[in-house]
Amino acid sequence: MEILRVEHLSKIYGDGENRVLALSDVSFSVEKGEFLAIIGPSGSGKSTLLHILGGVDKPDAGKVFLDGSDVFDRNDDQLAIFRRRQVGLIYQFYNLIPMLNVVENITLPLLLDGQKVNEAHLKELIVTLQLEGRENHLPNRLSGGQQQRVSIGRALISAPAVVLADEPTGNLDSKNSHEIVELMKQSNRKYKQTLIMITHDENIASQADRVIAIEDGRILRDEVNGR
């Protein structure tokens, strides 16, 4: 079943001399439960694409359909609600709220949505993320790996249909990055979540169901891993 469809997406930054065509006529679709890796050289437009999929940036042309509905055919508030319920975004830089502790950061999307936190589910998630005993720590007291695990927790807590991860392991050592990828794959399988991950790591890309390669804002390659 198709969960996500992208049609003729374009994004232009700046104007005049500074004009950059970050995305140019990108189209593809993703099946529910699929693990998609996006690769490409630096500056090719990967992050731009991901941000648009997550509804945090707007395209200059083209459409994104999630679960059959047009993401950008919503007003700002609807878009915010879409972000908080349908997608989980994981940034390359963890982007945690410094004023909030681990638990508060993880549960933030639920709290914003005014939902009750399912304590059992939270506990399970914290155990899975190996963050026990750090529940009340503020982000500046955590290591990079721990911070990234918190941001993964934040992306997963609302059980979104799609998880978007922008080089989640880019700043981590190989052991940590292995653990994190495992974690995300686990969630992907367990909840039949769709996972779209940007990575530079060949090894991670090879674990994905499908790999899209981007260069200069265009899809260069789109192939299913023969596994």
Binding site: H51, D77, A80, L89, Y94, L96, M99, D113
Partner: protein, 932 residues
Amino acid sequence: MNIMNRVTMRSLLKNRTRTLVTVIGIALSAALICAVTTYISSFYNTLTENAKYENGDWHIAYYYRHLSDYDQLAANDKIAGIEYVQELGYAKGETEYSYNYVIGTNGNFEEKNLAIHPYEGRYPASSDEIMLSLFENENYSIGDKITLEIGDRYYNGKPVPNFYDELEDNEYRTFTKGEELRIRETRTYTVVGFYYPMSVLDAAALSSHVGLGYPAVTIADGEMSDSFAYDFFVKLKNPADANSVFANSDFVSLNETLLTYMGFSPFAVQNLTIWGVAVLLVGIIAFACILLIGNSFSISVSERTKQFGLLFSLGATGKQIRRSVLFECLVVSIAGIPVGAALGIGAVAVSLQFMDSVVSAIGLKVPLTLSVNIFALLIGIAVSLLTVLISAWIPAKRASRITAIEAIRQTKDIKNTPVKVSKLTEKLLGISGVLAAKYYKRSKKRYKSSVIGLSLSLFLFISIYAFGEYFNIMISATSDVYKYDVSADYIDQILGEDLTAEALLKEYKAADHVTDAAMTVYGDPVSYEDDPGGYSVSVIAGINKSYVTSQAIERGSVNAPEDISRYSDAETSAIYSESPSDFDSTDYLYLDACIVFVDDEAFKSLLKQYGLNEAEYTDPKNPLAVAVDGKRHYDIHSGKNRKTNVLNSDKAQLYIYRYEVPSGMYSIADKYDKNGDEYVAFTDYDLYFDEHKQSEDAYEIKAERIALNIGKVIYDAPFYVTVNFAKLNLIYPKSVMGNICEKWSDKSFTTCYITSDDHAATSRAIENINNKYTMGTDIYVRTEDYHAEMQSGLGIIDTVRAAVIIFVGIISVIAVTNVFNTVSTNINLRRREFAMLRSVGMTNGEFNRMMIYECIIYWLKSILYGIPPTFLITFVTYFIMYQTIEFDFTFPWETAAAAVAVMCILMLLTVFYAMSKVKKANPIDELKNENI
């Protein structure tokens, strides 16, 4: 607390200094706003209390009524209470043509509903006791028995109408010859007190009787009866009904003053003015505060832009973001406004203690007391809250408009504009300068608000200071301000062998608390007029047109000969049959001048003050005078208080005229010819008093012309040149007096002017000195404590000054807080960048240089943006004030310079304070803390 508010709360607590500064800013604005509203409510309350004191605490008065009317009023459910006054009638007073008007009140004095206040003694307690007016009853004292034959006034056999509406003009208000008092009854009272009558017309506050004599107040006879007339003073349940209740009756009057101050009058123009001023003042304050607090919020929001972006990307709605900003503003308001309101009320309470002079100046009978009107306070708090809300709303709105990713990346804040850093900067300041310049230029938008904040501080401070200055000028120009505190004047007779004028002056100077003293003798020619056979010297000086400003001619400070008032007598002027056109061509104009001879010591210090050559000014042959020009006067035609300069240059020549008065002759007119010569017409004493004859028998004498040369014109009168009629004052040393005009030294009238730091003590000391010399003689030295005399005038000036100082003070604190806030937040926002710079090896020295350089850029920009509007608004203020009072435009350059300097120091201090905190931190921690 929801999650957004929790984040807000924590970031407020984390940035404690900034939060505190914001709270202080809010507290100050609330203090200012609440102070204004509390001032007004206190003022209103006092005016209301004063109206109650002067006219009584009632709303409608029904005059000359009867028992049946009382019953009718008592049945009206709109009426809360009625005081009644029985009209007993007139009784002869102390003189044949004065009366006491006997009235009997219902004895309810406790509530002070009627405007009677015992000055001495007490209120009457029974109908055997009486309280009299303090005036016109001098023969009685408390405890005396007084027997009054009470009756009605009749004129031409008809009763004199009593109610004032029936009196036409002032008829019957005073005793009319031929009127009679028809006695009805005789009553005996014990005098128990005296009241201080306000004014004759105010008697309407007590009875229908107006005008003649004062009410004598007793207690009404037991039951109301049909044989007397009564006045009813009615208090309504709701004063707003006053007009409707009033409308359907005759012989009634509204207590208009009271109703006006209570806000229930249809003619409440005064209310409008007072509230208009209040709204304007609150508006200005609110505007200033919105700009300043708004700036503080906008910095806070831009600091949190990234946070907002993140929250956006996690699904927070714009509404949630805006709410969190509003929540922040509520929190700081709750922390700041109550403190500020209390502070403002406290300040008003304290300042009201010093307002006695205002009370006496506007003629209030009750003291100004603090009145915290809940309504006014609520308005103050509401306006403060609104101010904070508006301040927060603008940046919040902006924050919620950008896309999430823009916010996270803060792309809007930093512009990649090409930056040309001058070679000179690079050479002089090295990499520090280059970085600073780039930083400023590339983050223009982000820090525009900083520069705006800084400029605003300058703008507010300087323009309000200037406004205060202008206000001072205005007040001191419109009231005669004496620059001395005590004066003593005497005729030379006091002086003798063992006491010279100089010695006496010296003694004065040594008296308690004296700071300076000078002795002057006026070359007062008028005093010679009644000395036939002696010399006389003209009051009016002649001056050549070429020395006179056109302004002085236009404004009539100088006159053409034919305009001079001494020609007012048509008959005497008739002897000069020359047509006025003869004078038109004259080069000579005439002006009122005053010649002041001051003791040599004071004169020398004046010369020193203006750097003048002593020899030229004290040369006995041809001494130069120091002229005091720029006389202020109220111009009736334009309604303006004007300042007119007569002389157009330092060097000018004046003539005064001296002539010998022939024995037995009387001068009747002066005449000037074209060349500035003066002729004086004389006539015989007998003829002078015999009407119509002098024209033929008058003859004239040419007066001797004495030239006076001016060496220097000054515009700031020394303390001993006091307010007088002259358009120009000439100052000479006393030692040259005889050289200018012999005889002047003979019987001079000397005045000593003394400045003091304790006028009362000095006044006593001077009096003691004088007593020592005048004891046992019939000589009188008049000592006057001018300072005490003009106390009330000075009081207002002092009060206004104090208000301006307080206002400027508060604005300065706001401005300082703002500078601190702006600069420290600016640095806090860049902690990560600083950490990076240090981690790549920037030394502390380079760092400091970069910061100083940046400071200077901000500082210069603030001056650039701050000073021109300040200048403009100052000029506009000046221009508006100039419409009623002429004064020279001055821009407070020194203050502006000081403000600019203080701001620079303040910025540097803040920078180093903030930097010291940054430097203490570990750069790696800072770099890791990406959320800064």
